[in-house]
């Protein structure tokens, strides 16, 4: 079984929104017709977006971390939005696990959006049907695009390479390795939706400096007497290093 998914590295994301705009650009130009973009230059613009980048501040000044948090459909393995659909328009593809809406069957009752705890489905006011991230199904299953471009638009657009794409059921895929080795986690595990998309945690980059590392014991200038020689140090870390 294949389960395509994104892995988003929160340690890398810089919050540039390139994934948001590339997602909108690709998906508003597709076979499904444009995604609504109402009043884009007015006072109260609104529109359909499958992907958003949010920003959170963790901690209290001065010990804060800014976390940029891209949010799109998580393509749950047990998607609560699918069984509630009265028409079968909302479905999970058996072959690759992508959760999709058949826009020709959707009646726009919005019930699936109520049934998604993550709020990643958007009702399109133009086409009057529910829309959502398709994981760029038209790109990733394309037979005409160059192999390197058969990835979601957001993944290709990310300048920091914070977004990985692959099969989370294949233990050797880039996404599975990232989840396994970098502590990838799922959102809202309390609802047993088993999201396929995972997030890699923020990591503080730290180096440990020992005081004796700042002093070079075998400084030739000291050996030559041109600099005052330091008092003899006891056995240091170097003496125990293998």
């Amino acid at each position: 079984m294949t389960q395509l998914a994104l892995v988003i590295d929160l340690n890398v994301c810089v919050g540039c929104h390139a994934c948001v705009t590339s997602c909108k650009q690709w998906n508003t130009s597709g076979a499904g017709g444009p995604l609504v973009d109402d009043n884009p230059y007015g006072a109260d613009p609104t529109g359909t977006f499958f992907n958003r980048v949010q920003t959170f501040e963790v901690g209290e000044f001065p010990n804060t971390q800014t976390v940029h948090f891209p949010k799109s459909c998580l393509h749950c393995e047990d998607p609560p939005c699918v069984p509630v659909c009265p028409t079968g328009a909302s479905y999970k593809r058996a072959e690759d696990g992508i959760v999709l809406v058949d826009m020709d069957k959707c009646i726009g009752c919005k019930y699936c959006s109520w049934a998604c705890p993550y709020g990643v489905r958007e009702f399109d006011e133009g086409s009057k049907v529910m829309t959502k991230c398709t994981l760029c199904v038209d790109r990733v299953t394309s037979t005409t695009l160059p192999q390197a471009e058969r990835q979601p638009a957001c993944v290709l657009a990310c300048p920091a390479k914070a977004r990985l794409f692959g099969d989370v059921h294949d233990p050797e895929s880039v996404v599975s390795v990232a989840i396994r080795e970098q502590g990838g986690y799922a959102l809202m595990p309390e609802w047993s939706t088993r999201p396929s998309n995972h997030y890699l945690p923020r990591k503080r980059t730290e180096i440990t400096i020992h005081a004796e590392d700042l002093v070079r014991v075998d400084n030739p200038l000291k050996i030559d007497g041109q600099l005052p020689e330091l008092p003899q140090q006891g056995a240091g870390r170097e003496d125990f290093a293998t």
């Binding site: 929104h17 948001v20 009043n39 109260d44 613009p45 609104t46 529109g47 977006f49 958003r52 980048v53 949010q54 920003t55 959170f56 501040e57 963790v58 901690g59 209290e60 800014t66 976390v67 948090f69 949010k71 609560p80 699918v82 069984p83 509630v84 659909c85 009265p86 028409t87 079968g88 328009a89 069957k105 959707c106 009646i107 726009g108 009752c109 919005k110 019930y111 959006s113 109520w114 049934a115 998604c116 705890p117 993550y118 709020g119 990643v120 489905r121 958007e122 009702f123 009057k128 049907v129 986690y185 799922a186 959102l187 809202m188 595990p189 309390e190 609802w191 997030y199 945690p201 923020r202």
Partner: protein, 306 residues
């Protein structure tokens, strides 16, 4: 959630229609009502159900595809409701017709309508109760309240109809109206108590997966509105919500109880009609509050515009 008036009207109207039919059918079983009265009541119940059905179409973005909703009854309570509603309305129409024209078979038709009516109460309530992360809804109280409030408003309407057309039935229907309104008050009150004590299972910590007691949203990703901000926030103050709560407790339960009791004692059809009107308006407020009170976990992601 942002209450949608189409759904508020749908659930209150068909609830009253089901309650009214069950009251009428009970009167038929007890041998109290004349066919003419039952036929008139059936027409009223049918009219309410049709009005509810019409209201439901306003909730759909693509109403012309509504026929597709009957396909996923294996998994979707909404689909089951869509099947149960015509299963209720069709036999109700035949039952009404049979009474009006004296065609017979009213017990069989009525029995089938009664079963469909009960099934419809279950389906309507389960649409909301099955969404486990909407913790205010995911409770047996939702099922009990939808049923009891439908029965209460239906019985009050039956009492009002009896007051207008068959005064000898006012006592029978009035007693049922008082009973179900009182039971509805108790169960709705209990559900309010339960919901007041709910602890949200999802937190900002679980929503973005970061373990820190202090997380503040700095940007939600856009400055204008979106479906996320329109569909899931009612935008009213907590004070307004409290006012609606007391308004519906008064309008759907306390006032109708008093008006029905007064109407029975003073044999005044006007008071009984007023009781139904007040109770229906109260139930509109109750249903609005039911939706507004539900706190969707997605709201955690939309706490700060920027």
């Amino acid at each position: 959630m942002n209450p949608a008036f189409s759904v508020i009207f749908l659930t209150t109207l068909i609830g009253a229609a089901q309650g009214l039919f069950l009251a009428l059918f009970s009167a038929q079983l007890a041998g109290l009502a004349t066919p003419a009265f039952l036929a008139t009541g059936g027409v009223v119940a049918l009219a309410l159900a049709v009005a509810g059905l019409v209201a439901s179409f306003f909730h759909l973005g693509r109403p012309e595809r509504a026929w597709r909703t009957a396909t996923m009854w294996r998994t979707s309570w909404l689909s089951r409701e869509v099947i149960a509603l015509p299963l209720f309305m069709g036999p109700l129409f035949l039952w009404t017709l049979a009474h009006a024209l004296g065609l017979g078979y009213t017990l069989v038709l009525g029995g089938f309508t009664a079963l469909a009516s009960v099934a419809l109460f279950v389906c309507t309530a389960m649409i909301y109760a099955c969404l486990k992360f909407l913790q205010e809804w995911a409770s047996p109280y939702t099922l009990v309240n939808y049923t009891l409030l439908g029965l209460a408003s239906g019985c009050t309407l039956a009492t009002a109809l009896a007051g207008l057309m068959a005064p000898e039935l006012v006592g029978f229907f009035g007693a049922a109206a008082l009973l179900f309104t009182a039971l509805g008050l108790v169960s709705r009150w209990l559900s309010l108590l339960r919901n007041a004590r709910l602890v949200p299972r999802s937190t900002l910590q679980s929503a973005i997966g970061i373990r820190h007691p202090k997380i503040t949203q700095r940007a939600q990703g856009f400055m204008g509105g979106s479906f996320n901000t329109r569909e899931f926030f009612h935008g009213k103050t907590p004070g307004a919500l409290r006012s609606v709560k007391w308004a519906f407790l008064l309008g759907a339960f306390v006032l109708p109880l008093a008006l029905v009791a007064l109407g029975i004692v003073s044999a005044s059809a006007g008071l009984l009609v007023l009781a139904f009107v007040v109770q229906y308006l109260g139930l509109l407020a109750e249903r609005w509050f039911f939706f507004a009170q539900a706190n969707h976990p997605q709201n955690l992601y939309y706490q700060t515009v920027s």
